[in-house]
């Protein structure tokens, strides 16, 4: 009897003729994630099995698999023959530390075997009761369920627990996206959420040295590294943003500063997205959270985008819920480190909450060589590649 890990995928099973496309990507991602371990993988319809691994590495393998988008759950199972005696032996072992009520659930793919699912469940349940007379059977609301999955080729898997995985869709299955990463709490969460829907992401950061520090940039790279556990190897593009901010500050009305800065960010983002072959832009905007995230502000920043869709996965979230996700994915502690990002530079005392497109354009028209400044920032961007450790 060997220990194996059974993997189940999430909504891929809803796919029709193109299911293989998603499965292939998921398999590739699983193999990439497990590349550092010695083990055997077996992929068959709807179910993947990891076997022949070092038992001491089991926890690490499970932890790694829990970060693969597209996997719904996994179970650590005992692999045995289809012989009811062997199955009972495995099931009894599984119940060694249980108390209360239990049931046995059988799934029998091989219909040629000389027993029915109900017969096997009864027989196995009897063996468990013989060994542990304190246990009782409850078919409707058991404390504990023993699952028996009888497969073809004289093989069966016995397990009890389903460990939830990350869910979502395999990274890369939805195409490529450009995510804006500021260093705050929200943008790593929006990045995570869109990666979960299958986007392969490139991150974009606006850096305003000397108004922000080297540590502020390192913080963003650290966040990208933390996220790479989920997103895989990620390119982080750092755009030198100082000149644009200084210029806007010099020519524009001060209460429009943040609005105009964000418009220029979106312009740069679209240019870089096109350059990198990204089909969408993602940001961490959350309606009403700050002055730049009112409906009017979002309208005027969005209006500079010419072609690409802008996804705002956090738009309807409460801050507390965003913090909750940030803590779960492990980015919160880094996000709250006290290095300021470029949004806080030249902060006006009372930023406009209801900007108009006309005033934005009027302010921008005062900036000489605005387009050249945008192009210069795009051309001088630095690229960093972060990978999971």
């Amino acid at each position: 009897m060997d220990k194996v890990i059974i993997l189940r995928y999430s909504e891929i099973h809803l796919k029709g003729k193109n299911r293989m496309f998603f499965e292939n990507i998921l398999r590739r991602n699983i193999l990439e994630k497990l590349g550092k371990f010695e083990l055997k993988t077996q992929f068959s319809y709807g179910r993947y099995v990891i076997s022949e691994y070092d038992p001491e590495q089991e926890n690490r393998i499970v932890s790694a698999l829990k970060t693969v988008f597209g996997l719904f759950s996994l179970s650590i199972a005992t692999k045995t023959t289809a012989d009811p005696a062997d199955i009972a032996e495995a099931a009894v072992k599984l119940c060694s530390e249980t108390k209360g009520t239990f049931r046995v659930t059988v799934n029998r793919a091989d219909k040629t075997l000389p027993y029915t699912s109900v017969e096997l469940a009864k027989k196995t349940g009897g063996a468990i009761l013989n060994e542990y007379p304190d246990l009782t059977v409850d078919l409707h609301d058991p404390d504990f369920t023993v699952y028996i999955d009888v497969r073809e080729k004289n093989t069966s898997f016995v397990y009890s627990q389903s460990i939830p995985c990350a869910g979502g869709m395999p990274i890369g299955s939805a195409g490529k996206g450009l995510t804006l990463l500021s260093g705050g709490i929200d943008s790593p969460v929006s990045t995570y959420m869109m990666a979960k829907r299958g986007l392969k992401l490139t991150a974009l950061h606006f850096w305003s040295y000397p108004y922000t520090s080297l540590e502020a940039r390192d913080k963003v790279l650290e966040l990208a590294k933390l996220l790479s556990v989920y997103t895989g190897t990620t390119e982080v593009i750092v755009v030198p943003f100082t000149k644009i901010q200084e210029t806007i500050h010099k020519y524009a009305e001060s209460n429009y500063m943040i609005t105009l800065v964000r418009r220029s960010m979106m312009r740069i983002a679209e240019k870089i997205a096109e350059k990198k072959g990204c089909g969408c832009i993602i940001n961490g905007e959350d309606l009403g959270q700050v002055a730049s995230q009112t409906l009017e502000s979002i309208t005027v920043t969005n209006s500079v985008i010419r072609k690409l869709p802008v996804f705002r996965p956090l738009i309807g979230y409460d801050k507390i819920d965003i913090i909750d996700i940030a803590q779960k994915i492990g980015t919160y502690e880094t996000s709250i480190k006290p290095f300021e990002d470029c949004c806080t530079v030249f902060l006006p005392d009372s930023p406009v909450t209801k900007p108009t497109l006309r005033r934005c354009e009027l302010n921008e028209s005062k900036i000489v060589n605005y387009d050249e400044l945008i192009d210069e920032a795009v051309d001088n961007a630095e690229v960093f590649v972060v990978t999971e450790e």
Partner: protein, 378 residues
């Protein structure tokens, strides 16, 4: 690697030749554990005793009065953990202490101690009179920094000790001498303190080494227990490379410091800025001359420091331990307005700092501030 003019010597100093030589010798030829019983180890032990003697002689103390620690933060924590004899008495510290003293005091406060803070004058100095007003006959422990790590302001520890002893003769007196040791007179017989903290890396030594002077006759229980090293006062195998480097380096530093006049350098900076910026000099009373603290109105210290770095000059923002906190506790206590406090920088010298470097840096600072002012204020 890019070469810089380094003017953040209050944060740390470059390791001296004496330090490097000691590190090499005691990591290689004489690497033995000083507690071992064989002859080469005994030789190392003797060298450690010589090092204690060297430090002691720089303090007008005896070698038995020196305990080596892992850093001045440990020395300060040790003083607070084991130096308080009257557990029911009150604790008096200045509002201008380094974080390791300030946080130790706050910890005592959270344990229920009556902790009192002595306010500095506008120059950041703690006066004996103000200290006397804060202590009473039930004061157990007084800790006043000798030279401020933020501003370089010197406190007259000798007069403060006398003032305290007049009111409460049994009060234990500690002083954090990290920025004073080897730079200004630190004769323990005159200062009248029971405990005095020092750090190696501020005087050309390695990071990871500190010392605590404990007055002879003062019963100091160990803070770190174990193998009973240093006469059972501080266990743990001694950092031989660091301690011997510290002693030799401190001796050399003090002899160079005798010829050093940092106030001349402070003047160069102030003259370069006069008329070009709206700024204040913090700690403009009696100053060690090794630190120049400046605050620029409506500018950010962090940005000035970055612009200086781009011009090849490295400066600090205040205590390196709290550089990321926008408000500055010490400057706030001195009454520096917030519009200035946010624009604070700390320039700090060492005896090797040259006039040429200072002239260049002063111009770079004036240029940086002018440029920033123009960009920010339009």
């Amino acid at each position: 690697m890019k070469k810089y003019i380094y003017l953040d010597n209050a944060a740390t100093t470059k390791a001296s030749d004496e330090t490097k030589a000691a590190a090499e010798l005691y990591a290689d030829m004489l690497f033995y554990n000083p507690s071992a019983a064989y002859a080469p180890a005994l030789e190392v032990k003797h060298k450690l005793m010589e090092a204690a003697q060297t430090i002691a002689s720089l303090l007008g103390a005896t070698k038995e009065e020196i305990i080596f620690t892992s850093c001045a933060t440990e020395s300060n924590n040790y003083a607070f953990e084991c130096g308080i004899k009257n557990k029911k008495g009150n604790i008096v510290v200045s509002a201008t202490e380094h974080a390791s003293v300030y946080e130790s005091a706050l910890r005592l406060k959270s344990k229920g101690y009556d902790v009192r803070f002595v306010r500095p004058d506008k120059n950041g100095s703690i006066s004996p009179e103000e200290t006397a007003r804060t202590v009473d006959e039930n004061t157990a422990f007084v800790s006043i920094i000798h030279c401020s790590n933020e501003t370089g302001a010197i406190n007259d520890i000798s007069a403060i000790s006398s003032a305290v002893k007049k009111i409460c003769p049994k009060a234990v007196i500690h002083s954090d001498g990290v920025q004073a040791f080897c730079k200004i007179p630190t004769d323990m017989t005159k200062l009248g303190v029971d405990l005095y903290s020092m750090s190696a890396h501020k005087v050309g030594g390695l990071k990871g080494v500190g010392a605590l002077y404990v007055r002879k006759g003062f019963n100091m229980q160990p803070f770190i227990v174990g193998g009973g090293q240093q006469n059972n006062r501080r266990s743990g195998t001694e950092n031989v490379c660091g301690i011997i480097g510290f002693a030799n380096s401190a001796k050399a530093y003090k002899s160079k410091a005798a010829q050093f006049d940092g106030n001349k350098f402070r003047e160069i900076f102030i003259n370069a800025l006069n008329g070009k910026a709206d700024f204040t000099v913090n700690g403009n009373g009696k100053n060690s001359g090794y630190i120049l603290s400046l605050s620029f109105r409506n500018l950010r210290g962090e940005v000035i420091a970055h612009m200086m770095e781009d011009r090849g000059v490295l400066i600090g923002l205040g205590s390196a331990c709290s550089a990321h906190v926008r408000t500055n506790r010490v400057l706030e206590a001195m009454g520096v307005d917030r519009s200035y406090a946010e624009g604070s920088i700390r320039i700090s010298f060492c005896p090797q700092t040259t006039e040429e470097e200072v002239n260049y840096a002063a111009k770079a600072l004036a240029d940086s501030v002018s440029e920033l002012k123009e960009k920010i204020q339009g």
